[in-house]
Amino acid sequence: MARKILCVAEKPSIAKSVAQHLSGGQFNTHSIRGNTFIKNYEFDFNFNPPWGQCSVTMTSVIGHLTSLEFNEQYRKWHSCSPVRLFDAPVETEVDKDKKAIADNITAQARYAKALFIWTDCDREGEHIGAEVRQSAYKGNGTIEVKRAQFSNTERAHVIRAAHNPINLDERQVNAVSARIELDLRLGAAFTRFQTLTLRTLGGDLEDRVISYGSCQFPTLGFVVDRYFRVKQFVPENFWSIKVMHKRDDVEVTFSWRRHRLFDRASVVILFERCLTARIAKVIKLQKKPTSKWRPLPLTTVELQKLGSMFLRMDSQRVMKVAEDLYNKGWISYPRTETDSFDKGMDLKKLIEKQEQDQAWGGYATSLLRGGFRQPRSGRHNDQAHPPIHPVNFVASGSLSGDERRVYEFVVRRFLACCSEDAKGESTTVEIECGDEIFFANGLLVLERNYLEVYPYEKWNSSQPLPRFSLHETFEPTEANITEGETSPPGYLTEPELISLMDANGIGTDATMAEHIAKIKEREYVMTQPRGGGAQTNGNGNGNSGRGGRRERSGRGGAQGGNNATGSGGGSVQQFIPTTLGVALIEGYNGIGLETSLGKPFLRKEMEIKMKQICAGTKSRNDFVNETIEQYTELFVRTQQQVDVLKAACRKYVFGEQP
């Protein structure tokens, strides 16, 4: 009798494709009791020594199996003072709706020699792997535990992963478990406190949950911050000087090196001196080759930003679609920080697969016939996943609308990465008129290269400049003072918000979209198309949403509901805080904590410390204790000055004059 190995993936779709690849298509499918999505696939596979030929059961979980909860006596909202939640005992429980899945793993582990974990290779996936291990130990205390390292479900890659298992990374498991504990404690303490306190104000606040999350609040903070910048903005006049000259029937406008000044009198004086000088002299004439760089390999943050810019989908929708494409084996794992391809990767082989496409197949062929360039390398590498790239070809007809657009974007971006930069020639003419310097630029695009396949970027030739020679003098046809007015910044758009979150360490590339969705759902912010009327969305479906992965368990059609907004719209969405959103941030900023909960600093610190845990330079306990201590202090201060928070709500939510 062959040995048995139990394999567990993070989602059913991955289990199925891994089973297909390892078995060569020959496997038996068994349903499990109590869950219609999970299947057990049975087949044989010849692993590397010491395992050899084994019978395999491949199954999966659906995201996290367990959650952390307070002990029974602390669960009711009025059961204790919220501050107790910072140190109240907690326990890990298998989620009610995951019970059947956990039982299946326990049962399957009983006769298995080893457990191979096939969860996604990131921090969260590592923790899910540990949850799977826990369930397996229940059935078999001596089962050996290994982990497959993979980042897409392409056949050769999967088989290589099966042959080269590694160990679970306990540090990553610890980092996530610490985060889960802190999210639970901080979230519950502040959520209960502010909900119960603000409830007493009545009205609209009487029966809603006013949740707090250590990522949610700084995210909201960015939106509120920009809102005030827009509201408080005061326009100002500025002045500039323009010099025009007509030659060879071309009218050239020279712009002022000083760009613009906010002092009219000074501009008038400088302008008069230009007029007095009358003659302009060419002081610099430069023609030089220029290029527009092909894009860097695609990361998650970039996909989310560009998705809302070019594809008009909100970040959550883009990620959902990308994840579906990954589950089906069309693209690589879409959660990655890496923006450089490993030198050993056979990119040409991936390009080959795209040759059959109607739209970009010809371009792919031209790359293979000599156009190919090794992609540029960015500076980020998460050491786990390559940049997002197409793994297999899929005809656009067999994809849904949004899938098609995201797939097309990923492919075009990939082909663009493997192309030559666009080439052109830029001309600069600089003239001096009295003491003032003016310039005109011209651009001639010579080779479009990557732009041929990447319509998301524009680079066009300008009107050609007439001939000038160095040191020549001429009398300009005309010179003018122009006047303009500064305009307010726009409300925050999703790409901007993602950039801010990214730069300030709020959430990871894997969770940013969720935080944004959460503040919409809580009605702290509204979205509206740029230049349109506001629209509220999401009406709080009451999902407590702790433990990142719950919302993105990627089980095909079973999810859905959450993503009603954002896909169809015509323009970029911008965020406007609701009165409640403004009141919360202004309230906390007003309390005079050294670092307000609405600012990104505290969360950034947490993120850094999680990385330290992963690097082995900090222990889980130190991290949890330090953070709890820090937030307990903030909590006590907030309690003492709760009137400030209430006053902000009265002012903004109820419109009362102080």
Binding site: F262, I269, T276, S499, L500, A503, T595, F601
Partner: protein
């Protein structure tokens, strides 16, 4: 041998373009030990002058001050030989909107700065501000004052080293062969030498009042529009 007072005056006039008034010099010398060698005395005098208010410390000779009709906007251009010593009463960066500057001041008041898109915590120390000041664009517009107390504006025609939002109020400059256009002095490296120095009270008041000044300037412009 002539008295130290006139020797110091001559020395400072020729090397720095600063002509201390006899009264100031006399009172300065009473604070110094008579045994102090002359070069050291001169140096101390120079240092004190830079920290003084030139309307009381310098001699208001006609050639070292601006002519009374300096503000006459009908004069398109004239050149003044000087050297004329002036002190800086205020400075602004004409390339930035006042609102943009107010926002930056307020962020600093909250202890925040930006590094690219990242919001960083900064302590409002002198060094921190100098860091910010180094990056400002210009050209700058300066309110200046000569020894006679006449006030006028100067603008940077070309960038002058030492001129910027980070400079101290009361800072002394010497102008030689400088061009005045429509009542405004045009500052260039060739004509403008920044000597440095600071008047403590003036600097403090300028710094504390800067945000209010910027706001007032915006309102004044709005009314004018």
């Amino acid at each position: 041998m002539s008295n130290p007072s006139s020797q110091i005056a001559t020395q400072l006039t020729t090397t720095k373009g600063l002509t201390p008034s006899p009264t100031w010099l006399t009172s300065f010398l009473t604070t110094q030990r008579p045994t102090t060698p002359l070069p050291a005395l001169t140096q101390t005098a120079c240092f004190r002058l830079l920290a003084s208010d030139i309307t009381t410390s310098l001699s208001p000779n006609p050639t070292s001050c601006f002519p009374p009709d300096i503000h006459n906007a009908n004069v398109q251009e004239r050149r003044l030989v000087g050297p004329i010593a002036v002190q800086v009463l205020s400075v602004e960066d004409m390339s930035k909107s006042r609102w943009e500057q107010i926002e930056a001041i307020e962020a600093l008041e909250r202890g925040e700065g930006t590094k690219g898109r990242e919001i960083i915590r900064v302590a409002a120390t002198e060094e921190g501000e100098d860091e910010n000041a180094k990056r400002d664009g210009g050209p700058h517009k300066l309110a200046l004052q000569d020894a006679k107390g006449t006030r006028f504006y100067g603008i940077e025609l070309k960038g002058v080293e030492g001129v910027g939002l980070g400079m101290s109020m009361g800072c002394k400059m010497v102008l030689r062969n400088v061009v005045v256009a429509r009542g405004v002095v045009l500052l260039e490296p060739g004509t403008t030498m920044v000597l440095g120095g600071k008047i403590e009270g003036l600097h403090k008041a300028w710094k504390e009042g800067r945000k209010a000044e910027l706001k007032a300037a915006i309102e004044a412009n709005e009314r004018a529009a």
